[in-house]
Symmetry: C2
Amino acid sequence: MYSFGVDIGGMSIKIGLVDENGHILEKRVIKTDTDPDLAIENIAKQLNDILEVKNITINEINGIGLGCPGAVDGSSGIIDILPNLGWENVEIEKKLKKYFNTKITFSNDANVAVLAEVKYGCAKNYKNALMFTLGTGVGGGIIIDGKLYEGNKCKGAELGHITLVLDGLPCTCGRKGCVERYVSATALMEQTKLAMQENKNSLMWKQVNGNINNVDGKTAFECCKQGDESAKLVVNTYVKYLAESMMNLFNIFRPEIFILGGGISNQGQYLLDMVIEYCEKFNYGYLDTPKVKIAIATLGNDAGIIGASALV
Amino acid sequence: MYSFGVDIGGMSIKIGLVDENGHILEKRVIKTDTDPDLAIENIAKQLNDILEVKNITINEINGIGLGCPGAVDGSSGIIDILPNLGWENVEIEKKLKKYFNTKITFSNDANVAVLAEVKYGCAKNYKNALMFTLGTGVGGGIIIDGKLYEGNKCKGAELGHITLVLDGLPCTCGRKGCVERYVSATALMEQTKLAMQENKNSLMWKQVNGNINNVDGKTAFECCKQGDESAKLVVNTYVKYLAESMMNLFNIFRPEIFILGGGISNQGQYLLDMVIEYCEKFNYGYLDTPKVKIAIATLGNDAGIIGASALV
């Protein structure tokens, strides 16, 4: 049996036919439409095309899973809101059922990502896992006893919206000092720019060809590796924010594994070594407790499709 | 069938025979012995006495559950460490089995408290619950799908050891700014004393007969109710610390109910109203998410016995 995985993003929608081993057998990428009806029609077209190309009937499909960038309640059949797409109250289950008589299920993108990693990626064989997706924002995913934990009406696992700094930087959620404001790629870019403004001689200026608008999530890391003091300070502070946020979750869940995904996780072993060193120093959060394995997500861009298919 | 619940405390050990409805049928309180072997012998003596008095055989007992003030791993059969009692590496299961051929199970006292409230107290019929015990420290308990969540080797659910203030007050756990340093009764007393030292005219001085050593967890609350400005500031700040700590957990778990127990929870409805007002202001943590019911623990001092018996 196969499943379809649909990864809805702000710019593109990725669609894949996935087998029982998490392998993508056929893949399509289409532009995201701001009109959800048109988008769903396009998704359906692609799914039908894949069925045809692979010579598979809908009866051989377990169902269609969708990962969505926003607040969704999988149990309701309705996408509440995807802010970057302008989608609101989209009856996705009902609408897709018009095209396909199969199981339709969905969750938010961070939940889908952790599910993918636990089923087929870096956390395979782990039953209790947490994940940060370090991108524009900070997404969170929780796996308990091998199952996705979403909380009441799927409104839990907002691991980016835990206060790291009481009365800290204002967050889009309405509170202050959230993890997202310190450890997202956006936050790192802000921290990088501040450090550059404070030190006009920093190598970081050369890295961005003198134009601060060219700063991205890699700028500080690249210059830190080359020994630039300002960049080192940015990276060390960022690692502190990240590791402290993680240790809070260690103390709550004491999971077996903690996964780092999203753009910043492309720093790979370099980031991993620094985070582990920081956590070692503080006994992984609390006196002599079991260490938490820390790992970098391995499924990359395909995690969305694979994880969405695993929702089914 | 019945179960035994044993609530091990720093000063006393409470022992009870509990029926299937969470009612304590017979209760004993003994002094805590710093020698664990003597303590276990005494516990066994009391349990046998209860069996005799109630004319019950050990075969009618489901097992013995114990709540312990410290780090314990129920799956290991061994109490790691109870700092206030000086107990270390106590093979409690093996030792109690010498006296009784029945199931022996144990957990830490905050876990036991939340289990009691969910099974028989204020959170009856809720399947997803969190609890803070606001005492000398801050204990935490997590119920997911009706079951106690303890984390790897039972070293999770340390809800008092989440950073509330990055680089804040040093904590016994080795980190800084933990929830426990701001919302425990100990912390409230510190906050009260500081405010009194800053305002020699505060009503709080009268409340403690001019002796700052008489400050307890009620001092600020009592004077706040009487309109004292310094006390109001202490209480409002305390409520902010508490509600922010709770909202972090709302965003992680989006539980159905959050229970407040321990000494400070004796403030009851007065405390509840203030905490709810604060949470309302911030949408219970994150945009328009389902409200979390906030409740005061109802089982009081018996929660330890009842919850321990419910472990079985």
